[in-house]
Symmetry: C2
């Protein structure tokens, strides 16, 4: 993100008291110390920076460029951008919320990208508008390990009714997840009625994704026997459906066996609050076998949970959750970015780790510094 | 906790400017508006309120009364008590940490109390000093559902080498857990070398307990087939050992079967960072069969994890975790107890739940109010 140089602002102010003799438009007069190339950049930046209203109008009329720009604001760390982002989101809100939000997880290798490509194409063929987002806290380090390579969804990326956006980056999972959650609202206001949120099935990010979707799908492949291995139990417990991918060719038999095994495992879990009994299925993103059935399952789930009101209750709870999460995240950021705290933190941590001071006394010391 | 009436302090100050003609000791002169009974109570309270040094000396010499008083300070909501508690804990710290901390969980009905009684007696017979604590956030509502009824541990409660303390109460799990974690340090400084922390196996409290113990034991009973049911998968994943209790009489066969089944289930979980392979065992708190084996397992675990340094690394990580948790808890408390926030919170929450405002805009509004 290009940051407006302060010098430029100062020059504008100077002009008010010392009006230039030259008849130039305010804001674009190139001061001597700034090269014309830089000035041109600034000019372009100023001209191209749309107002909140322009963004809102753009999003509501289905303009993808406006959507992308608004998401960039959401992902920015600039406080001004945050204010603008909130304006846009709030204005979009009454137009959002008419979608279904689907979380998809699975360890690397299960074929998430090819599944989402086949599933997404199936949905756009049904006349749906599909947005694919991602929550991947590791993307900060790996520069976008999932969805970074859009070429893995060749078909979908060319589809005018699909919008693919890589994971936001950020220092904390909370931050990344919050940004994705905000992006959902923008996509919905832009007319996307099916939101797919991808995540890697290895850590805490599933819990975050679970708290922003209506339906949670766990993607698996038939393995060599230890079907339950390699994925945290908590993730299986969250799943509304387990889909065994790559059920084609020699794999069909193995996939069938795995399906039975997962089905048995799922029945050992306590009943879900939604009243929904998790299902298992197999499919092939390659042959498209079973893809339409996955969507039928989701439709059944939606009908059932809208009928028993669980769908709406969960969304309302999720909204409250994200408010509290955002507050919590900001409180922590404010605390740990405090210069006084930053000076003390390392040595205090070390003393605590070595057992020289109690964790509680250390916390009180830092809190006292912060609140004074 | 008796609170010193403010009136009393005022009278003391008055005396400085208007010295009484009566030759009475400062601080115990009964003013007319306070009945002599109340004054006596205050006097007793003042006399009996030990200093930090007295508490520290008491704890370090193994005085149970001093220990109990210090724990009461830890559990108090009075900020002055908190300061004093931290003083005491910090002074005790270098004398603590030489214990083993064992978490025990299991759903109601598995016989946690009888198990802890039998297990605790076994340990005191071995010459150990055993402290039994609890983390039960529900105790605020149920007035101490676990460990409230000490008569369920008749033998242990009479044992001079055992100390039993019911769960602290508090509004949040975080608060309850923190208080228990602090209590551990005090018990250790008081000479208790084996700390047992009990919790009910139904919720989030296991994660909190897991983050304060060296060894996590899941207690089960042989059921009617669905052995894995009724307990969250995440809890099984935390367990270093699963012990099937009530393996006596007709139950012995069933317990053996359950043991096999759990053993299979445990092997499906990913390997533990500790390098320890979780074990299963059966025992009877009634016949004492298998109780000594549980302790042998723990000793083996300790030897192995001290050998590979995991024991010390985990404790150091736990210390840091509790520092950060305490900070987080206090930041939230300070925020939600802010009078301005309290005025706004309900209506903001409702607007968010109903989708009238975005969770993020609502959070920003509250944060702006708080930080201004």
């Amino acid at each position: 993100m290009l940051i407006l140089p302060k010098r430029h602002l100062v020059l504008e102010n100077d002009k008010k008291t010392n009006p230039s003799a030259l008849n130039e438009k305010a804001g674009i007069s190139p001061p001597e110390i700034i090269s014309s190339a830089v000035a041109k950049n600034i000019q372009k930046f100023r001209n191209s920076q749309p107002t909140s209203k322009e963004l809102i109008d753009g999003i509501l009329s289905g303009n993808i460029t406006a959507l992308s720009r608004a998401i960039t604001l959401v992902e920015s760390t600039n406080p001004d951008h945050l204010i603008k982002a909130n304006e846009v989101i709030n204005a979009c809100l009454s137009h959002a919320n008419k979608s279904v939000r689907i979380g998809i997880t699975g360890v690397p290798g299960v074929g998430k990208s090819t599944f989402i490509e086949a599933f997404g194409k199936h949905l756009t063929n049904l006349g749906k508008k599909v947005a694919v987002l991602a929550v991947d806290p590791s993307s900060t380090i790996s520069h976008g390990s999932i969805l970074g390579d859009k070429t893995r969804m060749e078909e979908l990326v060319k589809d005018p009714n699909a919008y693919i956006r890589p994971s936001a980056s950020g220092e904390t999972l909370g931050g990344v997840a919050r940004k994705t959650r905000e992006t959902i609202s923008l996509c919905e206001a832009c007319g996307f009625d099916t939101i797919i949120i991808e995540t890697v099935g290895v850590g805490q990010s599933e819990t975050a994704v679970h708290s922003m979707v209506d339906f949670f799908l766990l993607l698996k492949i038939a393995g060599a026997g230890d079907e339950l291995q390699g994925i945290k139990r908590g993730i299986m417990e969250m799943a509304d459906a387990i889909v065994i991918n790559k059920a084609d060719g020699d794999n069909i038999k193995k996939a069938k066996l795995a399906k039975t095994e997962f089905n048995r495992a799922l029945h050992l879990f306590p009943a879900k609050k939604s009243g929904w009994i998790p299902t298992t299925a197999s499919c092939s993103a390659l042959t498209k076998e079973g893809i339409s059935e996955v969507w039928q399952t989701i439709e059944k789930f939606l009908a059932q949970t809208k009928e028993n009101d669980y769908f709406y209750k969960k969304r309302s709870e999720q909204n409250e959750y994200w408010m509290l999460e955002t507050i919590n995240e900001q409180l922590k950021l404010n605390f740990f970015n405090n210069p006084e705290i930053q000076k003390l933190l390392d040595s205090t941590k070390k003393a605590v780790q070595n057992g020289e001071t109690s964790p509680f006394a250390a916390a009180q010391l830092l809190l006292k510094t912060y609140f004074k």
